[in-house]
Symmetry: C2
Subunit: 356 residues, 2 copies
């Protein structure tokens, strides 16, 4: 067996993007049960939650699923922390919440999270934000997991191939949420899905999962025609019944104007794509000065929680991809089956078009 | 007849992007003869050259072709001209060419060019950089031309629909050469081809030609599966026999590193995508201060000519899209036929994949 075979033998070659704060283990279960590859976002989970979420999916299905981690090692005492907090004071005031104390922890311990994923032995373990070591790749493979690395550029795909990854998740610039770039800055790491998929396939002999801007079955058919082993969809699940997106996030999606997204690092210290709002706009001139992920992410957590409670979408991270306006409501398994029917119809239409 | 019908009844639904300084009327002829839609770039042509190029294509084929203009109205006496010239002095010195005199003209007269295209009556008249008036759209339609407007965003596609255009050329951010954005700034106008195609189709009831990152038959199949009426290819023709790209431009393409392109307005005063080089890198900090297209374009013309002569690719505009590494040599008509064979093979493979 190889990752390529696993992906190409899925009843439905749709991968559900693991989205911390938006997807749920229940969504992963529904997608895997429907024949796709569900993905559990583990970034915000403590080790015991990682174990429990794997157990939840396994109770419901024997089908493969993936687990995802965001690679990071926050400094114990980041410089400029007080200034960074102070900068957020007017925003905390705007939602009527107190400025938080200096946190003494910024994210879960990555090493412990890694061990929990290794122990959970999902069919696929995927990573973003940075490489993991060759030793860790081999430990996962020895445990029976395929390793997928997220790449925003060809150079990043090659770097993952070098540490022995089994496949590449090619994240085109259309995608919502955090960018995975780790070798170069954001301006040099924004490649459209079509071009990224084609050039990564050309440069690296690994199966490629295409991500970014895929919102319906037509787009699934499109990336499969390009030679992707599977299509990854994230934003397309934001209105699903199993999504844990807040009511105001969902409303913002449903009411989104044309061309609604922008990039920001103001919420988390790492560039991410979301529905443009006041916090993104007003923080843009200073966003280069903010602490890196996960520090800024931790500092704005209480702000975003308060904004959500107050129903204020202008101060909330509303991650979404460029084609978010095509998002539809539905049960996650039903959505996957619907997109696959659309993909089949698009393929049949294409066959007619090209047989003339 | 409608533009949709014209595009969908082409023997090969591949549109050759008109590229001033890179494509040629001979290329347009070869593509239209092969069954695609050839495109004559008229931006750099005087009215009599526009007439001659239409005649050249018509002598060789009865098949439809398109002609393209770049909408602009340069100021007679742009402010800051001397400073803009002065800023280029070290670059002119670097290639051993004299700093040019203040030009008294920056581009051909657009009104005269428009009249020449109208008189030439191509099957398709396409425009980029800005809208044309509803009156001009109607004049072209009355002459038997379909009007295609270039859009980088959904809002721009809607604006073209409002002036009565027959179709949209949706230019994804992957594409090489000049960006067509005219409603908002560059940062708000970079949408990936997949997302742009999907959202423009969703928002506007006009046939869409997909452009940006399409370099082979797989990508042609992909955008057709997405519902595009045709696939537009530009960078894919840069190594064609009928291309007028210089030897060093072609060499730079053949030797391009991974992830090789960037955006710059330093060469022309309008953002364009090309192979990253020294001029782009070193001018980046000041590029916002340069005069707008076509003024800066005119001021750097002798510089680029001298750099080409000296074989210095670091001072030359090397327009190319994000997937340029897939470019292949060949006769333009052969390339079109090859891509169509690839598209058919990709469609057949997709049909197998989706019939399981």
């Amino acid at each position: 067996m190889s990752l390529r075979k696993l992906l190409e033998s899925l009843p439905i070659p749709i991968v559900q993007a693991p989205m911390a704060g938006a997807s749920s283990p229940e969504m992963a279960l529904a997608v895997s049960r429907a024949g796709g590859l569900g993905g559990v976002a583990c970034a915000a989970f403590a080790p015991d939650e990682i174990a429990r979420s794997a157990a939840l999916v396994r109770e419901g299905t024997d089908a493969p699923f993936s687990m995802n981690l965001l690679v990071n090692s926050p400094p114990a005492e980041p410089p400029g922390l007080d200034a960074a907090l102070e900068r957020l004071r007017p925003w905390y005031q705007a939602v009527g919440a107190p400025l938080p104390e200096r946190p003494n922890r910024f994210s879960h311990d990555f090493n412990a999270q890694f061990e929990a994923v290794l122990a959970a032995r999902p069919a696929v373990a995927s990573f973003a934000f940075d490489l993991i070591s060759r030793e860790r790749v081999e430990a996962l493979q020895a445990a029976g997991c395929y390793v997928v690395g997220t790449a925003n550029t060809v150079a990043e795909a090659k770097a993952w191939a070098q540490v022995g990854a089994d496949g590449i998740s090619a994240q085109g610039m259309e995608g919502g949420g955090h960018r995975g770039n780790f070798l170069k800055g954001i301006d040099e790491s924004l490649v459209g899905t079509l071009a990224l998929l084609a050039t990564v396939r050309h440069a690296v002999d690994l199966p490629v999962i295409a991500a970014g801007g895929i919102m319906d079955g037509r787009a699934v058919a499109a990336v499969l025609a390009m030679g992707a082993s599977a299509a990854q969809m994230g934003t397309a699940f934001l209105l699903a019944e199993q999504a844990i997106t807040s009511r105001i996030w969902q409303e913002a999606i449903l009411e989104a104007p044309d061309d609604p997204t922008g990039l920001t690092r103001a919420f988390s210290g790492r560039y991410a794509r979301g529905l443009e709002n006041r916090f993104m706009r007003e923080m843009r001139p200073v966003e280069d000065e903010l602490p890196a992920y996960p520090v800024q992410n931790r500092l704005t957590q209480p702000l975003r929680a308060a904004a959500e409670k107050a129903g204020d979408k202008e101060l909330l991270s509303l991650w979404a991809g460029q084609a978010v306006k095509l998002a539809e409501r539905g049960e996650a398994g039903d959505l996957v089956r619907r997109w696959w029917d659309e993909a089949k119809a698009a393929a049949a239409e294409l066959a007619r078009r090209t047989s003339g």
